[in-house]
Symmetry: C2
Subunit: 295 residues, 2 copies
């Protein structure tokens, strides 16, 4: 199997795991559940659960305890997109070529569906306790997930991002946003994978650094694509950052420097990955592919 | 000390515990933290953490492990109010006599502050693992908290409530809303208190029934007060349910029947409480006081 086939196989596996943990669309509260599932089944690269699973395997994990965490990870990522798209936030009507959640279900339900996905993420992750009630790794992983998704992680980055609309950003603030808005969830993914596999504190620290670099490279690449992509390739209008007058890595450093930085940072991450001395062929290829991705 | 003094003493204690767990207002993400703290420090009865703490004590709990859960409980309650008040939801400009969060900080920050509070609730609750890393009760309590706050709990109730605006509700749906929208968090509070104290499954079940009754009585009383209170007493305009054309317990059953039902349900809860055979003087008085509350 080449990398692309390997990737697709894993995406399928992950989507099967996620769907196991999705709530049934029934009961008086059916609408919010439909809105949740609509949002999470909209597709996407499933990168975060994939990074979690690969890190878990890389460090010797072999039980199903990681699976509820993988689903939880994607729910947290999805809720952040649903709320980001709201009229009071980025006001986006399309994502991945489909209408956004609040456009289909209305704004109130968009807010509720986001809340529900965030809450259901923790509800789902705590199902790991049903498998192993006294496994202290689960508590540790839960705490990492919560911290990295919150005000000292993703939400912290979003806050600065929201406040930055329409005004120039300092380099310092931009770094803060990039480190937290995208980086934090990749860190959460890889770190919880490592912790659940029983990694040492030192290994978890290395994994955090790798994830931080991957997140940064991914985000810079996103900025590059926002400028260079076409509607067809990206499933949303091009230049949306420009439309929203956002300072991005590209507006500060220029396109060429941004591209060079993606490469440099990815290489640093790769070196750190190899330093773990594990069989990392697929993870390496995955990280490589981020540099060259077109959407 | 009479009940009122006793109550105030406990509210002070609880607010001190909550403030221990509030994030410091610093960093680039300061605004969202200010909005979180503004929301949670707006006052309120602190009923949910109080019920948690009292149930914990009632069933023999005596460690600090309940405290992060108490703070988490109030954060979840607060986030639900912040999002409920948003323009796309109830569109309320005042709560407890103060401007609502989105009015002060803007709508985007209102959404983010709610998200942040919900996430921080789990972040805070998982701090219990730092005290007792392998205590299986913590995982069990976390799971109850998450389930009762989510689509099979509070959010489920909110969903039906949101969809009901402007159209008559069946009695069945109204019961569903009341059971979940208010009841679920009181159940979460008392059940996590019981579980953390090491209660038996049977005791947890009794506690769930008590909490469900308390929540129902509380919610009906809320409907009664919406009709009978003045702006001054309640800190918000009277008759807001009527304004929003909501079906309530009072519009379905009438004021007198509603009052009688509050009393009947509260008595049932009280009997169940006594059946636990513990020293429950304060909890009894607290439940009593809900029947006669004026705001």
């Amino acid at each position: 199997m080449n990398f692309k086939e390997e990737l697709q196989k894993r995406v399928n596996e992950i989507e099967e795991i996620i769907s196991t943990y999705l709530p049934a669309e029934e009961g008086f509260q059916k609408t919010v559940i439909q809105a949740m599932n609509y949002s999470i089944l909209a597709g996407g690269k499933r990168l975060r659960p994939m990074f979690m699973q690969e890190t878990y395997r890389l460090l010797g994990g072999s039980s199903k305890v990681v699976e509820p965490f993988m689903a939880a990870m994607e729910m947290i990522h999805t809720y952040s997109l649903v709320h980001d798209d709201l009229p009071a936030m980025d006001n986006d009507e399309y994502r991945r070529g489909r209408k956004t959640t609040h456009v289909v279900y209305g704004e109130a339900m968009g807010i509720l569906a986001g809340d529900a996905l965030l809450n259901y993420a923790f509800e789902t992750a705590t199902r790991a306790f049903e498998m192993e009630p006294s496994n202290a790794r689960i508590g540790k992983a839960l705490r990492i997930l919560a911290v990295k998704a919150g005000i000292y992680g993703m939400i912290g980055g979003q806050t600065v991002d929201v406040e930055a609309v329409g005004q120039p950003l300092t380099r310092e603030k931009l770094d803060f946003i990039y480190e937290l808005k995208t980086g934090a969830l990749i860190e959460a993914a890889m770190m919880t994978g490592a912790v659940l596999a029983g990694a040492s504190d030192e290994q978890v620290k290395t994994v955090e650094q790798i994830a931080s670099d991957v997140g940064l490279a991914f985000q810079i690449q996103d900025d590059i694509l926002d400028v260079t992509s076409t509607m067809e390739e990206l499933g949303k209008p091009i230049g949306s950052d420009e439309k929203n007058e956002k300072t991005t890595y590209v507006t500060i450093k220029g396109l060429d420097q941004a591209k060079a930085d993606v490469e440099r940072i990815s290489k640093r991450a790769m070196d750190a990955l190899h330093s773990l001395n594990r069989e990392d062929a697929y993870l390496s290829a995955l990280m490589e592919s981020l540099i060259n991705r077109k959407k």
